[in-house]
Symmetry: C2
Subunit: 408 residues, 2 copies
């Protein structure tokens, strides 16, 4: 399993890549403009089914809206998963527009403003406290509102998770409360009229090493068992985070989900049943749910040969899909998987650079890629565009037209 399987998961109809059973050229006409993002509803549903099949049934699945906040996706997922995680007032509104119960929405993130905390308390969602300041503000606001707020404590663990694309736990961090400081915070909150449900411990994202994720989950459960002893009430909520990675590049191996499922089963049947019997156990995923179900489609506008190199110019670029250009937190630029969507059955006969329409050399979408002979009007399809695509890109850069989005 690798990034090649991401491509293989999509249908090919009459030699054309298809999304939701619609060949990409017809889909382009239906959407009415290029570039666009298309997300495959079937793949999204299948991904949740895969997770349900492999993870223990008592594990709750939460979708981190930050990965892709498109309302149609959030609505679709609301009937398939158990909870949402939001990171801002904007995401909170998107989540509240679904049938999801507010107490199944959690709000995490550093530097929540007083206005955001007030919104969250009024909505009745679970606030994942990132600091003592936030705790004090929540108490003040909820007193004013006459509402007993639901909170959890986001914990910065005392161990480090290796192998993550991004590390958010261990050492000194802006995220959460250091695990050794949690007992003091709990004692400060003693007597306050707030409902402390439990803990959220999240170590890092985009991890392809199942054995590291398993070890992290074990250590997290151990940590929370220790913290439980300092809680005034039984722990009813434990968000283990997620961090499940997807394969972006040729050499990436897909995550061994079976290993994670087996590990979680051991934890559920062992320490959790014995020592955290009242807990609602949550795995929170964003990228792993939506990342592979989405493509970015952009049309070839021009091509030229410059000093021996073929350049294919498209009407899209890094203003829609920054990560694919290698300019968002990556150290080394590597190509995301891509195809010529209307030439799926043709042999590769040329090596080209595929570049976006922006006036900057950073706008490189494919370097030295092997493709069938490309003509003007062809549709270039970039994969792994379902998560951290459109919203994680500088859409206003250079004043080009926005990209459409479709859930098909």
């Amino acid at each position: 399993m690798s990034s090649r399987d991401t491509i293989a998961a999509f249908d090919v109809i009459d030699g054309k890549l298809a999304v939701g059973g619609i060949p990409v050229d017809r889909l382009t006409e239906r959407i009415g403009s290029t570039p666009f993002f298309a997300y495959d509803r079937r793949l999204l549903t299948e991904r949740i089914a895969l997770l349900r099949r492999i993870l223990p049934s008592s594990v709750n699945l939460s979708y981190a809206i930050k990965a892709n906040p498109m309302p149609a996706i959030v609505q679709h997922l609301s009937s398939l998963i158990d909870s949402f995680d939001v990171a801002s007032s904007g995401e909170l509104r998107t989540a509240l527009d679904t049938p999801m119960r507010p107490d199944r929405i959690s709000f995490a993130g550093p530097a929540k403003t007083i206005a955001e905390l007030a919104q969250a308390i009024a909505a009745g969602v679970t606030i994942e406290l990132e600091s003592a300041t936030e705790a004090r503000r929540v108490i003040d606001i909820s007193q004013r509102f006459g509402i007993r707020p639901k909170v959890a404590i986001r914990v910065n663990p005392d161990f480090v998770i290796k192998g993550s694309g991004m590390r958010m736990g261990g050492g000194a961090q802006q995220f959460g409360v250091d695990s050794e400081a949690v007992p003091k915070l709990l004692s400060e909150l003693n007597g306050a009229d707030i409902d402390i449900l439990g803990f959220h411990v999240f170590g890092g994202s985009q991890n392809l090493h199942a054995e590291i994720l398993c070890e992290t989950q074990r250590k997290t459960v151990e940590l929370v068992v220790r913290l439980a002893a300092t809680m005034p009430t039984p722990v009813r909520y434990l968000n283990l985070g997620g961090g499940f990675g997807i394969p972006y590049f040729d050499k990436d191996e897909s995550l061994d989900l079976a290993m994670i499922g087996a590990n979680l089963t051991e934890l559920v049947d062992g320490p959790i049943r014995q020592q955290l019997p009242h807990v609602r156990l949550v795995i929170e995923l964003g990228r792993y749910i939506v990342g592979e179900c989405g493509i970015y489609v952009t049309r070839v506008v021009d091509r030229k040969m410059s000093r021996g190199k073929h350049f294919i110019m498209v009407d899209g670029g890094l203003h829609h899909q920054l990560a694919a250009s290698g300019n968002f937190g990556q150290i080394i630029r590597r190509n995301y998987p891509l195809v010529v969507g209307n030439r799926m059955k043709m042999e590769a006969t040329e090596t080209v650079n595929i570049v976006g329409c922006l006036c900057t050399p950073l706008d490189l979408l494919g370097e030295n890629v092997s493709v069938p002979k490309i003509e003007l009007g062809d549709l270039i399809v970039l994969f792994q565009a379902g998560a951290y695509g459109l919203t994680a890109s500088p859409n206003a850069f250079l004043g080009h037209l926005p990209a459409a989005e479709a859930l098909v």
Copy 2:
């Protein structure tokens, strides 16, 4: 001269940084929300005056709108400079909303769509042709419209400019027509009903080495003198590009503008007067005009100590000012200059990390910076925010509120 002088260019009133004579705390109230970008009208005007003083009077100054397309800035500059450069239909509309004559607007950029070319022809602006395909499309559309279009040829030079933050000329490029292919393109265009004004040669941006910029300008003039021999009419337009850098980091030295002025004077009085006597010579600048006149202001929402490190959390972040987080095309992350805007006269007493409100460790605005003791509500000011700030950042990332912009 260095990035410290950028800070010194702003007024300090009652111990507070001021923009346009208004202390930052009052400005915040006037704008009504944080975070925001503020641009200083006086500094903008002074920057143009500096360029006018040092560059030869026959040189036309063009503003590349991509650097900052805020309409108020573009309007203000329209009476101070000679021409605009646009890179998209959106920027074209912004430019056309000013009193600037359309024939003083040039449209450059790879992968211009047929729709964009049609807009540009209808508007009567100068189209900088990036390829033979674009030339053919311009001829087709202008025949259909019955308009004789103004064009220039963007040339990819046969030399490489060193020391640029980004290189866009020399070697194989998506930008422009290879210089050795220009004569063939000109002969193909022979007889077509288009007005070929001249050439645009742009080698790279954000260059702090005046001697390299001077050499580039000399080589460019030599190249265009050679190309002029293959033109059917005298060269009436030569856009030398710009590439003038600004100092972002402590060790950066400001550009030696006097050296560039002297070099341009030699070129104007020598080869240009002798061999390109009809030319309108253009220096096109974006970042150099607006970059240092802008600040990004964000409010402190929380602070915490995590395992011995002080973290200051603000309500802004990389979704508004990506470059300051080091995640847009930079290899090594370095701090942009910053101050606590309401504590300008206080001594630095602590070392902190200043982080944004996004749920990602990438959202780091200041690492190990020395600041006066910071309290909740303080206003952090990041400098060098006038160019490639808001529009070059992933504004929709994580669904936070947008940043306001003000020209003061």
